[in-house]
Amino acid sequence: MGGRRVFVSGLGSELGTMVAGMLEAEPWVGALAGIDADPPRRRLPNTTFHRISPDQHDRIVETVTRFNPHVLVHIGVWEPDARASPKVAKTLTDQAATSIIGAAAECSAMEHLVVRSGIEIYGRGRDSLTRPDETAPIRPTSEWGRTVAEIEHIAARVSARVGVSVGAVRLAPVLGPHVPSPLGRMLRNPVVPFSLLADPPFAVITDRDAARAIVAAAREGLAEPVNVVASGAVTCLQALRRGRRIPFPLIGPDWQVARALSYLFGSPIPDHVAEVLHRGRLADNGRMAELLGVVPESTTSEVIDQLYGWPSIIRQPARVAAA
């Protein structure tokens, strides 16, 4: 199995860099390459990086087909209000998915495709299951949920046409010290709104556990969806009490004002995060060990505690004025 070529899209993100770092240490990986619009967050000595914007369709196709990977790991997705506004995030994600997965279909050596998805794909409509497993119907109720559903759909189409196996890693909201997450950013604010009448539970996952799951999916040749969620759950109020933040109870129409204020203070609340606060977000992670051979190292409550333990950005003035 050694000597396989692995291509990673979204290498410049924190998660992509972490995945590439772990893949470099895997004995079955022979050559590793990746693309992104931004450079990787840390040194990857055994990875070839191509800096290409998602809208450069021809360059992406040429780069991917020239590398002719056996395994493609598609992490190049933009969560709304994480690094880009919802509209831009959707455009970039759509462009990247079409170009990269489309290019993978043209590669003769291509055997396996892993796509990063999210548990937002199940949606949180009325009477939707509390803890959906991988067989639950896909009924996304947020923009981010519809985006990841579209990525899985594109990958499934490629799988049907070309005959490669496709595994979808459905991640819970990913939190990490350097991961741009609208949920994590909001929870770290000094004053945080929460739904007084609902205060539903949600689960998260650390960037490290998410990266381990994606690498395991590539290694094991995952050929179906799998939920990657830390065990346990926490409600917004419980999270705020753990982080010693000031909870601000809201009931209904005042949410619009709270979201606008939060946006003005640099912490926008996109619709999929608002959904977490109103309807919760849980998923059954019972098949993780069976399909991937790994289980999360941190529980949801531990991740939340870590979230409040991570240091804030320290701004240091320049020693010498540039101009």
Binding site: D127, L129, T130, R131, S195, A198, P200, G232, A233, L282
Partner: protein, 236 residues
């Protein structure tokens, strides 16, 4: 006031201290809040004094579906879930929470699951104890009989590979005494390959619960007298 009532009052008086002393809690994978459930059990003990029998039948770690009889407004599944949870010292959930705030979230906090076979299947596969109420009975002519049991939920238990247990509950609209009696695991009378298995299992469960109710020794005349709390265990 008997010792049980004093004990219940004592637990309620402990509330403020617990709220301050206990750390910020977490909920489990299904949104059940163990700290909140403890408080609610203490509150429920003001209303009911529940004795549980037959809990030794239940598995220690694996999941199990416990089907109980129900009477309208008696909250039998919740009462049984709380009592069984206390008796076996592990979380016990019940089927039938709403999905609308504020009752839905409150139900989830105390261990409620949506009334959906997939939800029940997920919980049972995860090794949880789940209490399912039969259809609530109201009419006087139905005294001693058990309402319809949703065979889809029984099918979920079969699919999850867990045992199904009948349980009889008795409580009075006026008295404090209540009882939950759990029977031994139900086994299908004949092997079926199709959906008939769950239908027959549900029917068999009804008969077993009725038998358990009979064994609990209530007088059932089929007249309005059955609704009077003569023994403190009236109703069904």
């Amino acid at each position: 006031m008997n010792i049980g009532s004093l004990d219940a009052v004592g637990r309620v008086l402990e509330f403020p201290r617990r709220l301050v002393v206990e750390p910020a809690g977490v909920v489990d994978d299904w949104g059940r809040d163990p700290g909140f459930v403890r408080q609610m059990i203490a509150l429920s003990q003001l209303r009911w004094s529940v004795s549980v029998g037959g809990e030794q039948h239940l598995p220690r770690r694996q999941g199990a579906l416990i089907v109980v009889n129900a009477r309208r407004f008696a909250l039998a599944p919740i009462l049984a879930a709380f009592a069984i949870s206390e008796a076996v010292d592990r979380p016990c959930r019940f089927v039938g929470r709403s999905d609308t705030a504020p009752l839905g979230p409150l139900g989830r906090r105390i261990g409620g699951l949506l009334d959906h076979p997939d939800e029940v299947f997920g919980a049972l596969r995860a090794g949880e104890l789940v209490v399912l109420g039969a259809a609530a009975s109201t009419g006087l002519r139905q005294v001693g009989s058990v309402g319809r049991i949703k065979h889809e939920h029984v099918g979920a238990a079969t699919a999850a590979g867990v045992q199904v247990y009948p349980a009889a509950t008795m409580s009075s609209p006026f008295g404090r005494n209540a009882r939950v009696e759990i029977g031994s695991a139900t086994r299908p009378s004949r092997r079926r390959r199709g959906p008939l298995a769950e239908l027959e299992l549900a029917d068999h469960l009804r008969r077993q619960i009725e038998q358990l109710l009979d064994e609990m020794g209530e007088i059932r005349t089929g007249t309005p007298i059955d609704w009077l709390p003569l023994s403190g265990l009236g109703g069904h």
